[in-house]
């Protein structure tokens, strides 16, 4: 392959490839799954960490759906203290950045989490805003733009010198509102999308499995979220949702993503990182583009008209 580079800068975050393993997919990066080519990865996001340990949900936690799956792991994790003690340092894959995902039900919780990570000099934090907000029954933080703004702002104030990624939920009327709120709150990067709320009915065992839908089935929804959000915000986007092939990753980038997150497809496609690098490199070559950033948003309306829609600030 030629001079094409897959290096990418998302604000201050420099990655050697745009491939990020999404949160919850790869434990804390401490397990060598052998078949994944780490050289092709830009970063790994840890499983989301909370203040207190969480035992997670009872079985069943997994259900296959047409071209996808539902999971309800329930954020099982050992809590921030145990994470720092045992997992944080084992999570270092050579030349692959570690991004620590955190989540809390109140501003206080996410502030505390951030303080502890900043002390340990964690450089990139992803704030998972799909956690239920303790003050609003059943609503996730990123289902409300005001809350999103408050949570992000509080965290950013504590980690000014660090990179803050806000990860938002697609279970909203208009995801660009959440995205704008997160940008206004000070997020440096946005990750979208998290899973879609969904259920499965087990007619055999007569049960209901309630959780988040992921996989190829949701790709068209994730692509739309990235496409729309790219038109509204100035910060770079990490596109996530159903990426299973190099072609999928390319579509996200052309829609407006600067980098992409691989999620549940990692469970079934061991060659996904290689395939993505290959497809992206071939695309850059064929189109005489030098840098991956030249491809970002190439098919987005925004880059055709140049115009950005007006917006109000928080």
């Amino acid at each position: 392959m030629g001079k094409q580079s897959l290096k990418i800068a998302l604000n201050k975050l420099n990655l050697k490839t745009p491939i990020i393993v999404a949160s919850g997919i790869f434990s804390y990066g401490e397990i060598d799954i052998g078949y994944l080519d780490y050289k092709k990865l830009g970063a790994v996001v840890t499983k989301t960490i909370t203040i207190n340990p969480k035992e997670g949900n009872p079985q069943p936690r997994l259900w296959e759906t047409p071209s996808g799956m539902i999971n309800c792991i329930g954020l099982q994790n050992p809590g921030i203290k145990e994470f720092i003690r045992k997992k944080l340092y084992s999570a270092n894959i050579p030349n692959v950045k570690t991004i620590v995902s955190i989540s809390g039900e109140s501003v206080d919780e996410v502030k505390k989490l951030t303080e502890m990570l900043v002390k340990k000099d964690v450089k990139v934090i992803e704030l998972n805003l799909s956690c239920p907000n303790v003050n609003r029954q059943n609503l996730m933080v990123s289902q409300n733009p005001e809350d999103t703004y408050r949570f992000v702002k509080a965290v950013k104030e504590i980690c000014r010198s660090k990179t803050l990624i806000a990860k938002v939920s697609p279970n909203v009327t208009d995801i660009t509102e959440t995205a704008l709120a997160a940008e206004d709150g000070g997020a440096d990067i946005l990750s979208l999308i998290n899973t879609l709320k969904a259920i499965a009915i087990d007619t055999e065992k007569r049960g209901v499995i309630e959780g988040g839908l992921s996989g190829p089935a949701i790709k068209p929804v994730g692509l739309k979220a990235v496409y729309d959000t790219y038109q509204k915000v100035d910060i770079p986007l990490i596109g996530i949702g159903g990426i299973t092939t190099g072609q999928d990753a390319l579509e996200y980038i052309l829609a407006g993503a600067s980098a992409i997150g691989i999620g549940s497809a990692l469970f079934s496609n061991p060659y996904i990182a290689d395939q993505i690098c290959e497809t992206l490199t071939v695309f850059l070559e064929r189109n005489n583009l030098k840098n991956l950033s030249d491809a970002t948003g190439l098919l987005n309306e925004k880059n055709k008209t140049g115009a950005k829609k007006s917006r109000k600030k928080h």
Partner: protein, 257 residues
């Protein structure tokens, strides 16, 4: 563990819904009994886990039952077709050279890892009793059973061997002939649960291979957990990474796994 394509050497219908799959090739790291492989069966999104039922002469054996859509598709594959496999996965049965008398207790496709275990133990000239429970005589995979160990059968309908649950048959056997040094088990959850009770009662260590729905199969997703005792009570451990073989004593047995 590694991911690689295996060619199908054989994929045959044995008895009732039971099938034998033979894959040609080998892993860099030789599998041990109790480990499993994770197979991609298109067009399904998630892989499907299967215990390794035998491994030698560059051949990997899988014993499977058609229970749903993916196993249905698997049963239609032919010699020459390829399958992408991740393996070997999980921890095998702990084997100790001091054990002289061994019970293997299996039901349904749960006998698969025990067949592999038998293969490796049989060379050691031990006293092995294989308790094999099945729904009916037609479900028993006779031709897969290695020569040189004692078999005790039971069927739900009494059509072959004892009539009743294989756990009970084993318990009676213990009463008559004494307990073994160790018990290895594989099969339906309720059977393993009963096995756990018997092993506790007779203070005989027992290790069983558990099953669960899986996504990654490699310990990274926390989807396949089961309750395992720890100092303070219990915690959710991963069947794929921390198991699939567990000491029956450690497992919190519930009605619904």
């Amino acid at each position: 563990m590694e991911a690689k394509s295996f060619q199908i050497k054989k994929n045959i219908h044995l008895t009732e819904k039971l099938h034998l799959l033979e894959l040609e090739g080998s892993f860099l790291q030789s599998p041990v009994p109790g480990q499993f492989i994770h197979i991609k069966i298109d067009p399904f999104f998630l892989r499907r886990p299967f215990s390794i039922a035998g491994y030698n002469d560059n051949t990997l054996k899988i014993l499977y039952r058609v229970v749903g859509r993916a196993t249905e598709v698997l049963s239609e594959k032919e010699a020459g077709d390829s399958l992408n496999v991740i393996g070997p996965l999980g921890n095998g049965f702990p084997v100790n050279n001091n054990y002289k008398s061994i019970f293997l207790v299996g039901g349904g496709t749960g006998i698969a890892p025990l067949l592999f275990l038998t293969d490796t133990l049989i060379r050691k000239n031990l006293n092995i009793s294989f308790f094999y429970g099945a729904r009916t005589s037609e479900c028993i995979a006779f031709h897969l059973l290695p020569y040189g160990v004692d078999y005790i059968f039971s069927t739900n309908d009494g059509s072959y061997g004892y009539k009743g649950l294989i756990g009970e048959v084993m318990q009676q056997h213990i009463k008559k002939n004494g307990k073994p040094d160790i018990i290895y088990g594989g099969g339906p959850y309720q059977m393993l649960k009963q096995l756990a009770k018997i092993s506790a009662k007779h203070k005989t260590p027992a290790f069983v291979s558990l099953e669960n729905r899986m996504a990654c199969g490699t310990g990274i997703c926390y989807g396949c957990v089961t309750k395992i005792k720890d100092k303070t009570g219990w915690e959710y451990k991963r069947v794929c990474k921390d198991g699939p073989v567990f000491n029956t004593e450690e497992v919190i047995w519930e009605n619904n796994p």
